[in-house]
């Protein structure tokens, strides 16, 4: 597969799985598609980091159906616990980012069995 298509596919997959796992509450399972995507589709660190951002986009998309209520819940929780509101949101996104990037790093660290002789890892 052309490298460009691999990257694009990886971003789409990570976004979709990020959305699905977040929507249904199994966000910690995002590590599984991340490992697989890293193994088959992504190599460069830069792309891995961008894929992490796409996973947070997937999480954010999962908020859309009930966006107002979810944000109100976050706002109330922040006010009750005395934590800045944006911190809770950022923390949520960082967790998803870290799970995705960690999985991608692990997956991309394995040798792909069939590879072009000139393919190089950074």
């Amino acid at each position: 597969m052309n490298n460009g298509y691999k990257v694009l596919s990886a971003m789409v997959i990570i976004t979709i799985t990020g959305f699905l796992f977040s929507y249904y509450g199994y966000w910690y399972l995002q590590v599984i598609p991340s490992v697989l995507t890293g193994y088959f589709l992504l190599r460069k660190i830069w792309y891995i980091l961008v894929a992490g951002l796409f996973s947070t986009a997937g999480l954010f998309i999962s908020f859309i159906p009930s966006y107002n209520i979810k944000m109100k819940g976050a706002l109330l929780s922040a006010e009750v616990s005395g934590i800045p509101y944006y911190l809770l949101i950022v923390l949520t996104l960082v967790i998803m980012f870290a799970i995705t990037v960690g999985g991608l790093l692990v997956g991309s660290s394995f040798t792909v069995q069939q590879k072009a002789p000139d393919e190089q890892l950074k």
């Binding site: 999962s62 009750v80 923390l91």
Partner: protein, 833 residues
Amino acid sequence: MKIFSSRKRFIAGIIVLIMIFSMISISIGPLPPMNKLLNPNSGIYSVPPEYRTGAKYMNITQDGKTAEVITFQESDGFIGIYSPHNWSLYYEQGYLEAKYRLAQMVFIKKDAQGTLSSLVGKSELKSDIFSREIMDCQIASEEVHNLSKSSYTYMATSNFVDGINAYINNLSYRDTPLLFKLLNYKPHDFNITNIFAIQQTFLWENSAGGFDPLYFQYALQQMPENVIRALYPAYPAGIQNPIVPYTCNPSVYNETGDIRNLSLYTPSVNIPLNLTQVSDSSPVALSFPSSDSFSNDWAVNGIKTDNVSALLANDPHLTTSVPSIWIGFQLVSPEQNVIGVVFPGFPGIILGHNNKLAWGATNGQIQETYFYAEETSPSHPDSYYSNGQWVKFQNINETINIKGSSPYHMKLDVADTGVVIENDSGVKIAMDWTGLNASYELTFFLHIDRSHTVTQFRQNLTEYFRVAIQNWAVADSKGNIGIFPSGEYPVINTGNPRGVLNGTGESNWAGFVPLKDEPYLYDPARGFVFSDNQITVSPNYPYYIGWDYESGYRADEAHLLLNTTSGINTSKMENIQLTIHDYTTNIFLKPLLNSIENYYGNSGLYRELDQWNGNMTVNSTAATVFYFWEQNLVNDTFLPYMHAYGITSSDGLFNVSFFIGPDSMYHGPLIEDLANWTVNEPNTSYFDNPVNGQARNFTSIALEAYNQTVAQLTEKYGKNTDNWHWGNIHKRYLSSFFGVDPLNTRSIPAAGDGNTINAAYGIVSDFGPSWRLVVNLSHPESAMGIYPGGISENPLSNYYSNNFIPWNNGVYYRLIPEKMPAEFYYGYGGSNE
């Protein structure tokens, strides 16, 4: 074979994963694990389940029994439950109370147990100490131990508890209350003892007296007798319309009683008081109904009505919280069809009506706490002197777990005069309270839900309701009405119960007022009964029952309206309930105008006041001026007395009503003294300044107070008096039941004040009619009611506070709406009447 293309990358990835999964799986500081709390689906972002209105049909199975249940959920905060069996009725009630108010119930339970500190930390330690001092759990255990397992009460509470636990045991993290997620708390099962402990805590919160005698002891010790007589008469000064006046029932005034043996103006003991460490009886975290709760209820019969057997109205004044202290149910089985409100954590209905009977309550303001200074001696350790001998205290050891801190250990001392209250005075002060013995008020509620006549109601009342005396107004479909402040009224033979008594035995409780001498009214000739927390009896009642009542102005207004209104119907009852005329304007407005006329007679403000009708409406400037003027009048008159006799903030200054507390304009003696002096003795020497001897009278103080008022309002709201409209300043809001400000509703302009029947106490008020009920006993199915707030405690729900604005606007809902399933009209003779 090469496995890793980059070993470093692999290690980095593993480290990242280990770190992130570790961090989100453990609690960091006070925060719960992030993997659950911030879960996009089930954590703080979870969407509350939809509250579907309408009917739902189901079968429930419990302990091998199956029963049909129909529920009907309404948008007004009420849920109807029908079942052909009582066990399943109460089971479903327990389940639904847990479903919509679980956090509230858990907090109430933990307050009753004295374990709030284990949930929220040290801020609730004082409340927990007090719960242990009044032995909620021990008394509850005794009540359950003595409860027959074949009794209706046992059946109702055990199934109620089963319903709660059925909900708890199937509770997902997603549906866990937000506060529990933040506190990382998983609710535990309830049991019957918990329900009776909750009963105990509500009895305390609704028992009048509280710690007032401790604070009043300062006055007794520091003020001379003549000042006590002038400022704090044992029978309120001013206009009074007692609940049970002599003219309506002289039969209860015949006995000798105990009051003539008591010394109500001098201290029984002189002790070095220090109340700074006295435990707070009410939790910081919870907006509880309390003995400072004020209310209205009245009932009229055929003499006053428009071709109707009887009508009843009730609006208990409690903290208007979210979630509400009330939750609404209609309970229908072959034995009952009752509708009304109940405290979460209780089965049955507390205030409401069935197809034959309606009832309501106001706090009786009867003194139910008596305090005793125990005589102790180093040569008799752990003992007190009583009736001529040294007696060992009964010791109870308690441990209170505190979240984030080491446990608190306490030793509770119990004497024959009650429990010793923790204080820093160096004197062991014991508190006797009628609730320190087992009682079954819960049984009372379960029985009256199925009672059909005023007589049956009273029978259950006198048999089961002993503590937290309320003024029960009752009306039945046959046209009988009554008001019954029934309960245990302590009797003592000597001493001054208004302060701290001598604990050596002579002032111990000698018994209670005999039932035949308890005040009551039944079908009085005037055609109505009423109570607005005013004094219970006329001055010649032979027993001492308390002295610190509501000041009587709502009662004066209600008496005037009920007396002068004929052809009363539901609409007129609602109008009386929503009245915002402040009766104190009848007393003080003219004298105020006379006092300021020479100086301000040509001013716009004077003209507004002169033309004002005394209604505390939102667009009235005169209302604002009068309110603050009255406040300044009380301060200017009585603050010098506090200074002269050394009453400080640690003694209760600005905290209790008789020491210019925030409620002194509508509760307690000071405003009544002012009314009495203004009308009868405007030049009394008690207006003089006791600090510097400056001669004063009503006119001089009224003028001074008026100047202060105008200056304060100008400074705070500007010179434009249009900005002084009462609604710009006076607001209502619903405060968080849990004391968490972000969960409050917004505040909105509100009419009324603490002296109007439609009461809104304070400036930004979260205290007022927590429930409104009007019942026509000829057509009880058409009863109207409303409570502010909503069915749900979830702040994200559309039904959290949906009734707030309609309630503030005086809207009433029909409690048994049309188009319910036919079962819900059982006993009412058909639907849609």
